[in-house]
Symmetry: C2
């Protein structure tokens, strides 16, 4: 049994709390937030606190707070030499107070308030400054069903950066698909199965091999027709840049004077 205290009340904190509560191998000792308002509804299940001096003993303290708050919060903890981890993709493990045993427990997934999330689909990237604690964090991840990976700070930053492309930027392309269809009286809903299939494809095949379409084929006729059909200059810029990107990847790019 691993005892855990959660600090913070955002999406990551809340999803972790729910997963830990359900696990038979984890007990949530306390849930801290600087304001009780957002965690008050859980007070019948867990000891909710807003004062760091009330913190009790736990095996792991998880700082699931915003990147900017991690360093300061860790320095305010009223104890020493305990396992203290943050959940951020981009903050160094060394930003945690060096009086603690430091680590990172980074769930590589997108969390929203409402959506249900099965932690078997949330890889946990683990890093520790002191080796023995790696196994505690691995056990903690396994107890909520998550796959785990040992990832150093440099690799974690790279994963976090790549996540911006495959999550935030991809979602923006969905948004543009939404704008293009709805502005012309077509239904975005018709694209939803395609969106899902595109994501499923790269679960098995590399994105390189999965690529299709006019840019890869260098089908100039379709490319020209589509650019002409785009009414929004910004959509055009994205069309041109990503077409060029595909053609670089697949060697179908022509000499261009720029």
């Amino acid at each position: 049994m691993i005892s855990v205290t959660i600090l913070g009340a955002g999406n990551v904190a809340t999803h972790l709390y729910k997963a830990f509560s359900k696990s038979e191998n984890v007990s949530v000792v306390q849930w801290y937030n600087r304001s009780l308002k957002s965690i008050d509804i859980y007070k019948n299940e867990v000891d909710v606190i807003d004062n760091l001096n009330q913190l009790k003993d736990a095996d792991v303290y998880i700082l699931a707070v915003s990147d900017d708050a991690i360093s300061e919060l860790s320095s305010q903890l009223p104890f020493k030499d305990k396992l203290v981890v943050h959940t951020s993709g981009s903050v160094s493990v060394h930003d945690l107070d060096k009086n603690q045993k430091r680590g990172v427990f980074y769930p590589l997934q997108t969390f929203s308030k409402t959506a249900q999330l099965d932690f078997k689909n949330v890889p946990i990237c683990i890093e520790t400054v002191d080796k023995p604690y790696y196994h505690t964090l691995k056990e903690l991840a396994i107890s909520i069903g998550s796959p785990t990976k040992k990832v150093n700070s440099e690799q974690r930053k790279v994963l976090h950066l790549a996540a911006v492309y495959v999550n935030n930027f991809t979602n923006q392309l969905y948004r543009i698909g939404h704008e293009i269809t709805e502005s012309e009286g077509a239904e975005f809903d018709l694209l939803k199965p395609l969106i899902l299939e595109t994501a499923k494809k790269v679960q098995e095949t590399s994105p390189y091999l999965a690529q299709t379409g006019p840019a890869k084929r260098n089908d100039q006729k379709t490319l020209k027709k589509q650019i002409k059909a785009l009414k929004n200059e910004h959509h055009k810029d994205i069309y041109n840049l990503l077409t060029e990107s595909i053609q670089r990847t697949h060697g179908s790019v022509r000499n261009k004077s720029k």
Copy 2:
């Protein structure tokens, strides 16, 4: 029972053939291709031909060939006033020979040679010049389990264009995620659950509401760190353009002199 003849041997033709073969309400009369080589393995199941003059009577002739070949192939058919449809997203229904009853049977999905595909996840966009034939095509789509939608040529082109964004361009972002991770010794595999979750999210939520991340929050500190960390100039261009795009959408854009 609807009788169908397929013309062409690409991915769409092959997936349609397999789906029609399995359906109890469809009989595939013949499968034509200008070269028998690619369809010869099906000769024990269906009448495979490479000569248009051998075409027998069928309720629907489906021209699942490349965009450029549709017009010419339709003009070479040795009969008149039959229901002849193409499967393209971007070709006008009027490109088909006007001696025929013309229509479009456009499956809005990505087809690959190997991947299994359930047609319940393939919306069929239907268009006909002669109204009564709409119901034949709708029945044909329903008989393989596909949802259907009446879509005119203009809407179909718009859907095809939007599909380039949510499929080809999205896949290229996956590719860049692959490049960024693998070049730095991180594992692309760790991003796969995130890719799937991002696609699942917009099945229920609009892409607008689903957006998260540093660009939407206008988190300048992270944005600057990430741009600095990118080693490839082309990746940087895409980072900048899509960040700008997110900020336009979410009103977090600052005044910029360009």
